[in-house]
């Protein structure tokens, strides 16, 4: 072998040594030429309690910085743990001081049964193929060991082209992009970056980073560089870990995470509502001393409900209306990522305003309405925002729980004044000077109205005979089929014209008769007494001989309306109740026993 051959072999040997060093570095934690390995501390995540117990009983020392992670004190503890747990190191990430060992264990492999990781066919130049194939093995291994046990779905990996639009719960997909692919895709479809879907229903990835676009999805992972995949997967795992997210969110509002409460929240709860329910258990339930039920209303208005022993939290809802306002850019100095329209305050409850004056929630008795679609993607930022809102609500409910009925109006007035001041501060910075006169006039007018309302409230409360106020009284008198109205002590008595009921299955109209509707304003009860006839002892198809009705879907409606003293609504619905029949019901099926209405009658 001549000198030239030796010289040409030199670089090759150096390259091979470099690759070997890189390979061994993970396991020796330092360069192979170094006699003293660097003192790197390693951590592992997602161990089961059983595995942790094995380590403890074997005397292996480790710390638990959070619920998901264990951190070894030295590298030998890590090596012993690896042997004890029969683990295999997939990769090691991190810096020179601390690193995370990404490992797989038998129990994780068992979870993978039945799921597959596949690559889409790709068409690349030979050199890229070589690089790609190398990465493919690594990517597949990482995905198999890290992501698959968590998502528990088959995973498809696409390279250089987007995967199919995720369609539900069957498959999790990853799309790897080069920068040029991504830019091209965004040019051709401006909304591409927003094609983000929720498959597991729990976590999605946070905001797009400007300098390093990696991923922000749950069902589809977009990443620009395969070398970032480990970090990306780690972020996904963080986002997929409810306990971590909850602990962070609760810590940010001064609460401590309790795993038992999370388990309780998970029982019998829709997976999508587990996180909000858990937050409610931590933040709201200790204040209201009742069970708190959380509903995902998805932008639909819902009437308040009144189960005595529960508090109802309606996410993205209001008692009335539709979401039409533009969402705020931020609340409490935190950006709002959702661009869904929000609800305007209905004006019927206690409004809760954020620091910028945005009314984010309303409280009506034991119903809480959140106006913002704040859990759209389920990111850690969104959960933090929800926790903040719950904390604000808890503060108000804590105050309200200490109130008595006599001070309710003054409390409302105080809060109204606070909200006015808050709104004024928020808007006053921009054009406070020019609008000052208008704002002052409005404020004075509002104050007079509030004082008047307060006076009226006390008048009504202190006068037992004045439940039926003038305007309400006039409205009842103006209702169709109402002949007279009178007040007798606690009773409001309405007499009606002859009422008719249409059988929806036959189209035949029946003559039910004239009624006296007796409303007890104190006990919140209602009776229907037929003044014309009774059929088989019944006053109406759904009203028995004592004048009591099988209320059906009005069971909660009447007491609620009576409590609110909405007597005109009560009378309208009471009359409509007689005019309606449910022929699928035993009582309602007796409608055919009533006399048919004559031709020309209503």
């Amino acid at each position: 072998m001549n000198v030239f051959a030796l010289l040409s072999l030199g670089p090759v040997v150096l390259i091979l040594l470099g690759l070997l060093d890189r390979r061994l570095r993970h396991y020796r934690f330092g360069p192979i030429w170094s006699s003293k390995p660097i003192s790197r501390r390693l951590s592992i995540r997602h161990l089961t309690n059983q595995q942790k117990e094995i380590l403890r009983s074997s005397g292996i020392e480790f710390e638990e910085p959070d619920a998901e992670t264990i951190l070894f004190n030295d590298k030998w503890s890590f090596v012993q743990a690896k042997l004890l747990l029969n683990g295999e190191v997939v990769d090691i990430t991190g810096d020179a001081d601390t690193g995370e060992a990404i490992m797989t264990f038998q129990h994780i492999k068992a979870v993978q049964n039945g799921f597959t990781t596949s690559f889409s066919p790709i068409d690349r130049a030979p050199l890229q193929d070589w690089v790609r194939n190398f990465n493919q093995r690594k990517i597949a291994k990482l995905v198999n060991y890290l992501l698959l046990p968590v998502v528990k779905k088959s995973i498809a990996i696409y390279y250089g082209e987007p995967g199919p639009r995720p369609n539900g719960d069957d498959q999790f997909s990853i799309s790897l992009y080069s920068l040029s692919d991504w830019e091209e895709r965004q040019r051709s479809s401006p909304h591409f970056s927003r094609e983000i879907y929720d498959v597991t229903g729990r976590r999605l990835i946070a905001e797009l980073e400007q300098d390093r676009l990696n991923l922000r999805i749950c069902s589809t992972l977009y990443t620009l560089r395969a070398c970032d995949l480990v970090d990306d997967l780690r972020r996904i795992l963080n986002e997929l870990s409810p306990s971590l997210i909850l602990a962070q969110a609760l810590k940010s509002v001064g609460f401590r995470f309790d795993p038992n409460l999370m388990e309780a929240a998970a029982r019998g709860t829709d997976e999508r509502l587990m996180i909000p329910s858990c937050l409610a258990k931590h933040i709201l339930e200790p204040v209201v001393q009742r069970h708190v039920e959380v509903y995902n209303c998805a932008g639909n208005a819902l009437s308040p409900v009144s189960y005595e022993n529960m508090v109802h939290v309606f996410l993205y809802s209001s008692p009335v209306g539709t979401p039409r306002l533009n969402p705020p850019k931020q609340l409490w100095q935190t950006a709002i990522t959702s661009d869904d329209p929000v609800f305007a305050p209905s004006g019927t409850g206690i409004p809760l305003a954020a620091d910028n004056g945005f009314i984010f929630a309303e409280i009506l008795d034991r119903n809480v309405y959140l106006h913002l679609n704040c859990v759209r993607l389920g990111t850690s930022e969104e959960i933090g925002m929800l926790a903040r809102q719950f904390a604000e609500i808890a503060n108000v409910m804590k105050d309200e729980s200490q109130r008595d009925n006599r001070t309710v109006v003054s409390r409302m007035s105080e809060r109204f004044a606070q909200q006015c001041a808050s709104q004024y501060r928020a808007g006053g910075l921009a054009d406070g000077k020019t609008n000052f006169a208008t704002v002052e006039t409005t404020f004075r007018s509002s104050l007079i109205s509030a004082a008047s309302a307060q006076s009226e409230y006390y008048q009504v409360k202190n006068s037992p005979d004045s439940e039926l106020r003038g305007r309400e009284f006039d409205q009842i008198c103006a209702l169709a089929n109402v002949e007279s109205v009178s007040v007798r002590d606690a009773w409001i008595v309405v007499t009606t014209a002859n009422l008719y009921c249409l059988n929806p299955s036959s189209g035949v109209k029946y003559d039910i008769g004239k009624f006296e509707i007796q409303i007890n304003a104190k006990e919140h009860t209602i009776r229907w007494l037929n003044q014309t006839r009774r059929v088989n002892g019944f006053h109406a198809p759904h009203v028995n001989g004592e004048g009591l009705a099988c209320m059906g879907n009005t069971k909660e409606l009447f007491p609620m309306l009576l409590k609110k003293q909405e007597y005109a609504s009560v009378v309208q619905i009471a009359i409509a109740f007689v005019e309606t029949v449910n022929v699928d019901d035993n009582w309602g099926s007796q409608i055919t026993n009533w006399p048919r209405a004559c031709k020309g009658q209503q």
Binding site: F473, D474, Q475, A478, D489, M551, A568, S569, A576
Partner: protein, 89 residues
């Protein structure tokens, strides 16, 4: 002791600040009734519901207790109520 009260009307046509006659009505769903002061008098039920940002699909529309349609005209002091179909059982 019985305390009967006679029926009297206390509502009247509303006037706006600039002298244009207006319409004052109550509108809403049971449990959440609002009073609206509307300018002018040619309002239909559909106009009012749109103005009040109330979704009416799935609801019965009643004006002063009578079944109504979206093109039914609204008069001063009317009560426009939306409620779900009643089902006794």
């Amino acid at each position: 002791m019985t305390n009967d009260r006679t029926v009297t009307a206390s509502t009247k046509m509303n006037s706006t600040a600039n002298g244009v006659s207006g319409t004052t009505i109550s509108v809403g769903v049971p449990g959440n009734i609002r009073t609206l002061n509307l300018e002018g008098s040619d309002w239909t039920a559909g106009d009012v519901l749109k103005y009040a940002e109330l979704e009416h699909s799935g609801y019965e529309i009643r004006i002063n207790g009578s079944p109504a349609r979206l093109d039914s005209l609204i008069r001063n002091s009317d009560n426009l109520l939306l409620f779900r179909k009643l089902v006794g059982n």
